[in-house]
Amino acid sequence: MKFDWNYALDILPQLLDGLLTALIATVVGYAVALVLGLVFALARRSHQKWVSVPVGFVVEFIRGTPLLIQLFFLFFVLPQLGLALSPLAAGIVGLGLHYATYTSEVYRAGIEGVPPGQWDAAIALHLPRRRVWTSVILPQAVPRSIPALTNYSIALFKDVPQLVAITVAEPFTVGRGIIAETFRPFEPITMAGLLYLAVALVLSYIGRIVERRYKGMATA
C-alpha cells in the first residue's frame, strides 16, 4: 500500500489539536513534578523520622511501579473515593507525581553537592534554618540541578502517549477516533507517532544546549 497524502492532510489538524493537549499535559505535569519533587527531597531530609521514612517509602514505591497503573488508579479508583478527576487532570497529576519521584533525586544530589563548609558557615553566622535553605543551600543546589531536570522534562513528554489509556485527547486517542470512522489505521498511527518523535527530537536538542551551557558555567 502507499501513504495517502490527501487523507493524511485531512486528519492533520485534529492530530495537531491532540499534540497541543499532549504539550499542555507535559508543561503542567512538569511544573507539578518540579515543585512536588522539591517537597519530597526536603521531606526526606527531615530530622522527623515520621516524615522522612513514610515519604521515602512512598517515593520509592511510586518510582518503582509503572506510570500506567498509577494513571488507572487515579482515574478509576479516586472517583470511588469521591474525587473524580477529568482525564487530563488525572493525567497531569499522574505524570507530575511520577516524575516528582525522579526530580526529588535530582534535587537531593544537588543539595548533597553543596559543600559542608557552607552549612558550617551558615551556623557560624547563626542564620535561621529557613533562611539557610532559601538563601544559601537552594540557590546553590537548584542551578546545578537544571541539566538533569531538563532531561526529565523530555522523559516526561515521552510518557504522555500513555494518557491514551485514560482517554485524554492526545494524538493516539484522536487517531483511534479517526480510525473508528475510516477503518484506515496506517496514516493516523504513523502520523501520531511521527508528531511525538519530532517533538521529542526537538526537546532533546534543546536539552543538549542547556547541558552545554550549564557545564560551561560550572567550570567558569
Partner: protein, 211 residues
C-alpha cells in the same frame, strides 16, 4: 479471587517477565554495536550510532508498539503481539543501554589506552583486551537500573492489547469492577517483581565486583 482470575494473573506475570527479559536481551544486543559506534574514530560510523540513539530514545515504547501493532499490518506484516512488544521495548532500551556502553568506555582512564599502545596492541586489540573488560564492569550497575526500568516499561504494551500482567488485570477489573483492589494489587505486584529483579541484579553485581 477465582482460580480463573489467578490463572490470568499468573499468565500475565509470566508474560511480563518474558517481555522484560526479552526486551533487555535485545537491548544488550543493540547496545554494544551502538555504543562502540558512538566512540568510533570514523565520523560516519559515529553518525550512525548517534542517529540510532536519538531516534529510538525519542520514539517512546508506546509509540513504537502502536506502530508495530496497528500500522505495520497495513504493510502486510502481522507480528506476533508478544514479539512486537519485545521489539518495541528492546529497540527503545537499546538506545539507552548504548549510551551506558559509551559512557563506560569513555570513563576508562586514557592511561589504560596509552598503556595498551605502549604494549604494541593494535587499537582493536586494546579495545577488546584492555578497555572493554574494564568498561563492562562499570556498565553492570547501570544495566541493573535498566532492567528495572524495562520491567516498568512493559506495562505500557497493555495499551495495544498485549496480554501481560497489566492487560490481564484490566480484564479482571472489567469483569468485577473492583478498581481499587485490582489496580492496588497490580501496583503491589509490580513493586514485588521490581524487588525480586533488584535482588537478582545486586547478587550479579556482587559476583562481578572487583575482588
Amino acid at each position: 479471587m477465582s482460580s480463573a482470575q489467578l490463572g490470568l494473573l499468573l499468565y500475565g506475570a509470566w508474560k511480563t517477565i518474558l517481555l522484560t527479559l526479552g526486551g533487555m536481551a535485545l537491548a544488550l544486543v543493540i547496545a554494544f554495536p551502538v555504543g562502540l559506534a558512538r566512540v568510533s574514530h570514523n565520523k560516519f560510523v559515529r553518525a550512525i550510532g548517534f542517529t540510532y540513539v536519538e531516534l529510538f530514545r525519542g520514539a517512546a515504547v508506546l509509540v513504537l508498539a502502536f506502530w508495530f501493532v496497528y500500522a505495520l499490518p497495513s504493510l502486510g506484516w502481522q507480528l506476533d503481539p508478544t514479539f512486537a512488544g519485545i521489539l518495541a521495548l528492546g529497540l527503545n532500551m537499546g538506545a539507552y543501554s548504548g549510551e551506558v556502553v559509551r559512557g563506560a568506555i569513555q570513563a576508562v582512564p586514557p592511561g589504560q589506552i596509552e598503556a595498551a599502545t605502549a604494549l604494541n596492541f593494535k587499537p582493536s586489540q586494546g579495545m577488546r583486551r584492555v578497555v572493554l573488560p574494564q568498561a563492562v564492569r562499570a556498565m553492570i550497575p547501570s544495566f541493573g537500573n535498566n532492567v528495572i526500568e524495562q520491567l516498568k516499561a512493559t506495562a505500557v504494551v497493555a495499551v495495544v492489547s498485549i496480554p501481560e500482567l497489566t492487560f490481564n488485570g484490566q480484564l479482571i477489573w472489567s469483569g468485577n469492577g473492583r478498581a481499587a483492589a485490582v489496580f492496588g494489587g497490580l501496583l503491589i505486584g509490580y513493586g514485588l517483581m521490581a524487588l525480586i529483579f533488584m535482588t537478582g541484579v545486586k547478587l550479579l553485581e556482587r559476583r562481578v565486583a572487583w575482588t
